[in-house]
């Protein structure tokens, strides 16, 4: 458990270091995800080392977003000032994206049959 968490944090740190030193627009945690995936595939990291900690975090991931959402309250004035374009654009666009990506992927997947991609 402690070992798994340490690995995850170390990969995040490596991601931060790479991302910052190269000035990449990708945040350290996303870079860390890529590095860990690479490490698992080439066999530098044994999946058993991180499994328990990763499962624990993933199964509670929704909880970690709650404080981020509460942060919205600080900008309530800003949102209130231009609420119409903000709400309409946010709501409609959220569904547009789901429809575009979902329908396209589903069509390609169905057409691909067994030999997808």
């Amino acid at each position: 458990m402690v070992r798994g968490l340490t690995y995850l944090l170390l990969f995040q740190l490596c991601g931060e270091i790479i991302s910052r030193s190269l000035g990449l627009p990708i945040p350290g945690n996303v870079m860390g995800m890529g590095l860990l995936l690479f490490g698992l595939i080439v066999g530098w990291v044994d999946v058993k080392w991180i499994e328990e900690a990763a499962e624990l975090l993933l199964s509670n991931m929704t909880l970690f977003f709650v404080p981020a959402g509460v942060g919205v309250m600080v900008y309530s004035d800003l949102i209130a000032a231009e609420w119409l374009p903000i709400t309409v654009a946010t709501v409609v666009s959220t569904f547009v994206v789901m429809a575009v990506t979902g329908v396209l992927a589903q069509k390609l997947e169905t057409r691909g049959g067994d030999d997808v991609g």
């Binding site: 968490l5 944090l9 995040q12 991601g15 627009p25 990708i26 945040p27 350290g28 945690n29 996303v30 860390g32 995800m33 890529g34 995936l37 698992l40 595939i41 999946v47 991180i50 990763a54 975090l57 993933l58 199964s59 991931m61 929704t62 970690f64 977003f65 709650v66 404080p67 981020a68 959402g69 509460v70 942060g71 919205v72 309250m73 900008y75 231009e82 119409l84 374009p85 309409v88 654009a89 946010t90 409609v92 666009s93 959220t94 569904f95 547009v96 994206v97 789901m98 429809a99 575009v100 990506t101 979902g102 329908v103 396209l104 992927a105 589903q106 390609l108 997947e109 997808v116 991609g117």
Partner: protein, 232 residues
């Protein structure tokens, strides 16, 4: 005594956990998508803080510690991706095409609608990366000249909306395969949508996790190009 206690991390952590657990119980009881625990917990905590006059920064002392765990959780998304790597790799072409189309659709629909409805330039630019995961969205907006805190708020709103309505919406429009649904919700509702997908289906969660990273990358490169093309 209370004033002092409120300023310790115990307050923010305790409040978040208690409200979240209550919200989960409520979700199980009422069985409605609108009772989404994240959404209910966020609204309840905001109302509680506003009602009692507790400052956001006092809450954030504990809240930020919970938020910190989001970092290693994103790294942990490598696990479902690794476990489902063969199913993902087989579908690499449709994954790339689907996310690219979604990324383009997100920028055009969000900015276009805000522009038609008379949004200011700052608001329009702040809306552009709203489907991108928070850290990437913030760095994009800093570069193009939007309001970073507003983008952070919009990203969370988008995520909640996608997590709440996404699965049902996808089913209604015929998007039923785990990979396609995961891609749709991950591209649109980033991490919050992915967390929801992980509860529904493992493969869908892996696809959604992949969409977070790829959509962030594509938006980063697409946005400056679209701005140059439209002359905005």
């Amino acid at each position: 005594m209370w004033a002092e206690l409120v300023q310790t991390p115990l307050f923010g952590i305790g409040l978040t956990l208690v409200v979240y657990l209550l919200a989960q119980t409520l979700y199980r009881r009422v069985n409605s998508v609108w009772a989404n625990p994240v959404l209910v917990a966020i609204v309840a905590i905001i109302l509680l803080l506003k009602g009692t006059g507790v400052e956001y920064r006092d809450y954030a002392r504990g809240g930020d510690m919970i938020l910190f765990l989001l970092g290693p959780s994103v790294v942990a998304l490598a696990l479902p991706l690794y476990q489902r790597r063969e199913e993902i790799w087989k579908r690499k072409r449709l994954i790339l095409i689907g996310i690219f189309a979604g990324s383009l659709a997100s920028i055009i629909s969000a900015c276009g609608l805000a522009w038609i409805l008379g949004g200011s330039r700052e608001v329009i630019l702040s809306l552009a990366p709203k489907s991108v995961t928070t850290p990437i969205a913030i760095s994009i907006v800093d570069k193009i000249g939007g309001i970073a805190p507003l983008t952070a708020a919009l990203v969370v709103l988008t995520g909640c909306l996608g997590a709440v309505c996404g699965p049902e919406f996808c089913r209604r429009i015929g998007v039923t395969s785990p990979v396609s649904m995961g891609l749709a919700i991950g591209t649109s509702a980033h991490g919050i949508g992915t967390a929801r997908m992980l509860e529904v289906n493992r493969l869908a969660g892996a696809a959604a996790g992949l969409a977070i990273g790829l959509n962030g990358l594509m938006t980063t490169f697409l946005l400056p190009i679209l701005m140059a093309l439209s002359g905005f």
